[in-house]
Subunit: 256 residues, 2 copies
DNA sequence: CGTTGTATGATGGAATACCAAAAAACGGAA
DNA sequence: TTCCGTTTTTTGGTATTCCATCATACAACG
């Protein structure tokens, strides 16, 4: 009775230790994704030290990490700058998303467990609520939850991180697009249809619906972007200035 | 006469690795991919300093970078170790490759320029030669060139890096599989068929052939792996020991 | 003999000071 | 204005130091 083995690993201690580096990394990454640090912004190491309150050692490590993740670019001896997303980048991202989210939907339809489907359902319900309330931010959170459930249901933890980073890269574009009530509602409807296909274990339909959904998102996003941008075909797709130097040649925009 | 532009980039100095960090990064990454550092190997920072001849700062930077790329894992308070590729990881990678290489083939068939097709042709010819000579290493080099041309032809620089890293992750599995002459020859034939479809601008066939090719590669690789592995279904797919500690519990294997 | 407490060494996390090299900014001369 | 050299800023990189934590060995104790 009461021997330790019977407990299994239920009381295994949580070994996660939020290091300074991880906290700083998260803050900086969020600032980049959220747009507080605009694309093209020069990231001066010592300035970041002050901003984040950590040493240069830590700053340099997280800069390398963000570089590997593609959020910043780092020409040697020139210093890191926030990466830009060109119109062509956006196209590639949408095309990749179409293929991978189609795959995820197909696999999810065949493999998803009831718990996964429940999560999908909750996410869709949450989205509908958020749209009804006009809360874009909440809508996006539920979208993320939806895709997380979708990739989990498909048994693809690897794809999850990759797709999430791609979606983040289009964050600006997406929030513009979803702030139009019509597009937001349409997006929810399409996801709900996808969910229905998954419930019916109809993998072919699920794949097709997911692909169509990405295509529609793309058209909506690039369509709205074109309304803002003066030269829609050539310019960065409303995401970032592809040639920031062209306008004010003197001082590059810097952090802080 | 003799103006600088006429020289083109013929005498462009090799700026590929100007910084120590990049050189060290490349060396370490190669060592991981090549298997000189087996999965599960503990990477002790101070040891790596000696090995690479750089300071701890640089070592830590490249460790963070490799961590972001997924080549190493870094459990808190334990220190970085070379990542393992489980059988489930391998499955996910193959499924992702199937979707993305199918996409690349489809787009390449519609978008490829003559120069791209030439590169594909050269790569296939090179592969055939290498297989005839029984040179697995050369074969793999041409495979990489083939996929590079394919993704370029599809206009997908982003996908290129991602797919390349996935292929690298299966490097061991692949070299085992391709050292069987039968599979090697079959692989070339399948790629040649894909090339023909691209030449004919038959995007649907190209996609299907690319997907089939990945599926066949997968079956071949996992099939051969099963011949070696004692418990094929559960064990890491011949790629790495998923539980390296199980055998010799005393000292963990360390670098050098 | 087995259990428990403690000393110790190895290692990662982090800060700091320092120097070299490259690039950018600046300022003066033609 | 444009060109050229100088100064300043910033990154690349090293060395050193300190601390927290962990794993192990070992001693003490029942």
């Amino acid at each position: 009775m009461g021997d330790l083995e019977s407990l299994g690993s239920s009381l295994a201690v949580d070994r996660s230790a939020p290091t300074l580096r991880e906290q700083a990394l998260e803050k900086l990454r969020k600032a980049v994704i959220g747009g507080e640090l605009a694309p093209g912004t020069r990231l001066v190491e010592r300035r970041l030290c002050d901003l984040l309150g950590v040493s240069r050692t830590v700053v340099r490590e997280i800069l390398r990490q963000l570089e590997a993740e593609g959020w910043i670019v780092n020409p040697p001896y020139k210093g890191p700058t926030v990466a830009t997303v060109s119109a062509d980048d956006a196209r590639q991202i949408y095309e990749i998303r179409e293929a991978l989210e189609g795959l995820a939907a197909r696999l999810c339809a065949t493999r998803a467990k009831p718990a996964d489907i429940k999560r999908l359902q909750d996410a869709v319900d949450g989205m509908a609520e958020a749209v009804a309330a006009g809360d874009v931010e909440q809508h996006i959170l539920h979208i993320e939850a939806f895709y997380e459930a979708l990739t989990d249901g498909a048994g693809h933890r690897m794809m999850q991180a990759y797709l999430a980073s791609h979606r983040s890269r289009l964050a600006r574009l997406r929030s513009i697009s979803l702030s139009r009530p019509q597009r937001a509602g349409r997006s929810v409807i399409e996801k709900r249809r996808l969910l229905e296909a998954v419930k019916l274990r109809d993998s072919a339909s699920a794949q097709r619906l997911a692909e169509d959904h990405v295509r529609n998102s793309r058209e909506a996003a690039l369509g709205t972007a074109e309304q803002d941008a003066p030269t829609p075909s050539n310019a960065a797709a409303g995401v970032s200035p592809s040639t920031p130097a062209a306008s004010s040649p003197r001082r590059r925009s810097g952090v802080a």
